[in-house]
């Protein structure tokens, strides 16, 4: 039973309450529900988290921004080609600190989803984000980015207008910034599309959000030639917040209520705000150059590999060379 099925069972149980007249049996059912929530809906597989990260009712970036920064002013456009509605950008205060906020926005309805391209940015979205980040740099303003995207958009226009170049440019330019960059992955963190606004000093993740090189479906279909093995793929891909924390790819996990963020949005918003403010309070003590180095040092160390120490190898060196080919 995956988490969505459990959610259905839960709501079925909750509906039963209405049908019961007996006070005692209501009481009993309520306890049963509570236990079900705590025991069943907290033990989540990686695939469960994938499902939650994509959940229709999961709070979207705009809701987060509304809570975090009630005075947020949205600013539009890349000043080059188009305003991309799948990325929201602007300025607002979070607990008195002015932030440049950039977020990937999935739609809240079918119509909105089409407008937002299901949260998949086009190159102009990345370029808008970059413009606003460079503006933040000019005004020495910290940057908050919220990630929620299935990934870059595999379409004609996106390729024609150079999405690869746009993502690369964002990564290069973000590496140069001297203001604090805080990233929170709030839902799906899909591939280069997510990373393009995620080159941060500190990367936080909601407990049931995911971050991966591609979708589990894509992974299964490429490596195993079978997209239906997505659930299996999710398990091996190490895409959950806990896995990524272990790998030191992310810095902090923001807890969610049992069943996922949509069960208590207010709580999730409060926790997220707390985590952002705490992180910012630590970062703001650093100078611009320290922030630059911190972000770059962290990134420099990404990787899982090994290297021979030649100085200690002595005679083995030659053997290795033989092994490695006829050089």
């Amino acid at each position: 039973m995956n988490i969505l099925e459990k959610e259905k069972k839960l709501s079925a149980l909750e509906k039963q309450i209405d049908g019961l007249g007996n006070k005692k049996s209501v009481e009993k059912l309520k306890i049963e529900i509570e236990n079900f929530k705590l025991n069943e809906m907290t033990k989540l597989t990686a695939w469960d988290r994938v499902l939650l990260a994509r959940h229709q009712s999961r709070p979207k970036a705009k809701e987060f921004i509304d809570y975090l920064s009630p005075d947020f002013i949205e600013l539009h456009g890349d000043r080059l080609f188009r305003d991309d509605p799948s990325i929201i950008g602007g300025i607002g205060t979070i607990e008195g600190n002015v932030f440049t906020i950039i977020a990937q926005q999935k739609g809240s309805s079918t119509e909105d989803n089409i407008k937002r391209n299901f949260g998949m940015p086009h190159p102009e979205g990345y370029r808008k984000a970059l413009r606003l980040m460079q503006q933040a740099e000019k005004f020495k303003r910290p940057i908050l980015t919220l990630i929620d995207t299935p990934g870059a958009y595999p379409g004609i226009g996106a390729e024609e207008r150079g999405q690869g170049q746009a993502i690369a440019m964002n990564l290069m330019e973000m590496s140069k910034l001297t203001v604090p960059i805080i990233t929170v992955i709030i839902g799906e963190g899909g591939s280069g599309g997510a990373l393009a606004i995620g080159f941060a000093n500190k990367m936080l993740m909601l407990e049931n959000s995911i971050f991966s090189i591609l979708s589990p479906e894509g992974y299964a279909s490429i490596l195993w030639k079978d997209a239906s093995k997505a659930a299996q793929a999710a398990e091996v891909m190490k895409l959950t917040a806990y896995d990524l924390k272990d790998f030191q790819i992310i810095d902090e996990i923001i807890k969610e209520p049992p069943g996922g963020a949509h069960f208590d949005k207010e709580k999730v918003f409060t926790e997220t705000k707390k985590a952002i403010v705490e992180t910012y309070n630590k970062l703001k003590r650093l100078s611009g150059i320290e922030l630059y180095y911190q972000r770059n040092t962290k990134t420099r160390n990404y990787g899982f590999l090994q290297r021979f120490n030649y100085d200690n190898l002595g005679g083995i060196k030659n053997d290795i060379h033989k092994d490695f080919g006829n050089r």
Binding site: I167, G192, I249, R300, R327
Partner: protein
């Protein structure tokens, strides 16, 4: 030797080590590859049969239609770098299996044997028409030239070495994208390599990116697209999303030439499409234009 003498000599050693910057720099010359098995192969563009030996002599360019075949990294180095000047850097990396993927280690071992490389990318110091530079080459015969931790690390070290030596960088890209088997570590190499380009660029140094067939995915969306000057071989497939994925998404066939070098030239993303025969000269000329300042 007395104690003081020992101490001095130790310090000297230490200093030398610091100066050399890389822990090792074995002087290994790249060698011409063996002729692959089988005498003939099919040109994917004009579909004619070609004698492999002739093709190698013709620098892997189809004598019928001019199609540029993929080139092995070692062949590329032999082709572009002046004889006896290439010194490989940053060797000895070992690819690990962070996600415990079944069969991944065996695969890597096999590729190592077949390609005579230890990963899908090699780099080193070399001269092009006597102009010194740092040259990196991806090999698409090694697991599609995909970028995992080792490739990302070596690309990063390419720029770091060039910064240390105040040299320009030329990278020949050829990649199917990210190394799926290494999951998130592969993705993060995009940020790492892009940051390395930024550091090199900040020093006012030149980086020329040469896009060969194919340059897609995570490599396309990082260092490949960040050259001060971006050259491409004719008709190379260049893009972020693969054409098959796009076709599946938009549910229609892509137009001819989509995501090819000439298309991207027109769209403004490539400085110049250069025939392989002209490549060495163009690179040498560009290097000359950037040797020292003229004011």
């Amino acid at each position: 030797m007395n104690d003081i003498g020992k101490s001095i000599s130790k310090r000297k050693q230490l200093k030398q080590k610091l100066n050399t910057f890389h822990e090792d720099r074995p002087f290994i010359k790249a060698q011409k590859m063996d002729v692959p098995k089988g005498l003939y192969e099919l040109c994917p563009t004009c579909e004619r049969t070609i004698n492999k030996k002739t093709n190698i002599k013709n620098d892997y360019i189809c004598s019928h239609c001019g199609n540029h075949f993929r080139m092995r990294a070692i062949d590329r180095i032999n082709y572009i770098v002046d004889n006896d000047t290439f010194i490989e850097k940053g060797i000895g990396f070992i690819t690990l299996n962070p996600l415990f993927q079944k069969g991944y280690e065996e695969k890597i071992r096999e590729y190592k044997k077949n390609t005579h490389l230890d990963e899908a990318y090699i780099y080193g110091y070399g001269k092009i028409n006597s102009k010194p530079c740092v040259i990196g080459v991806m090999d698409s015969y090694f697991l599609m030239g995909s970028m995992g931790s080792v490739v990302g690390e070596k690309v990063t070290k390419t720029f770091e070495y060039a910064i240390y030596k105040r040299l320009p960088v030329i990278i020949f890209c050829a990649s199917g994208g990210a190394r799926m088997q290494e999951g998130i570590f592969s993705l993060m190499q995009m940020a790492k390599t892009s940051a390395a380009v930024a550091k090199h660029s900040k020093m006012g140094l030149l980086y020329i990116s040469v896009l060969t067939h194919p340059t897609t995915g995570g490599v396309n969306a990082s260092f490949a697209s960040l050259g001060d000057i971006i050259l491409a071989e004719p008709n190379a497939l260049i893009g972020f999303a693969g054409p098959r994925v796009i076709e599946q998404t938009i549910k229609q066939k892509l137009p001819d030439g989509f995501q090819r070098s000439e298309f991207l030239l027109e769209k403004g993303f490539i400085d110049k499409v250069v025939h392989r025969k002209d490549l060495k000269n163009v690179l040498a000329k560009l290097l000359t234009f950037h040797r020292g300042y003229n004011r």
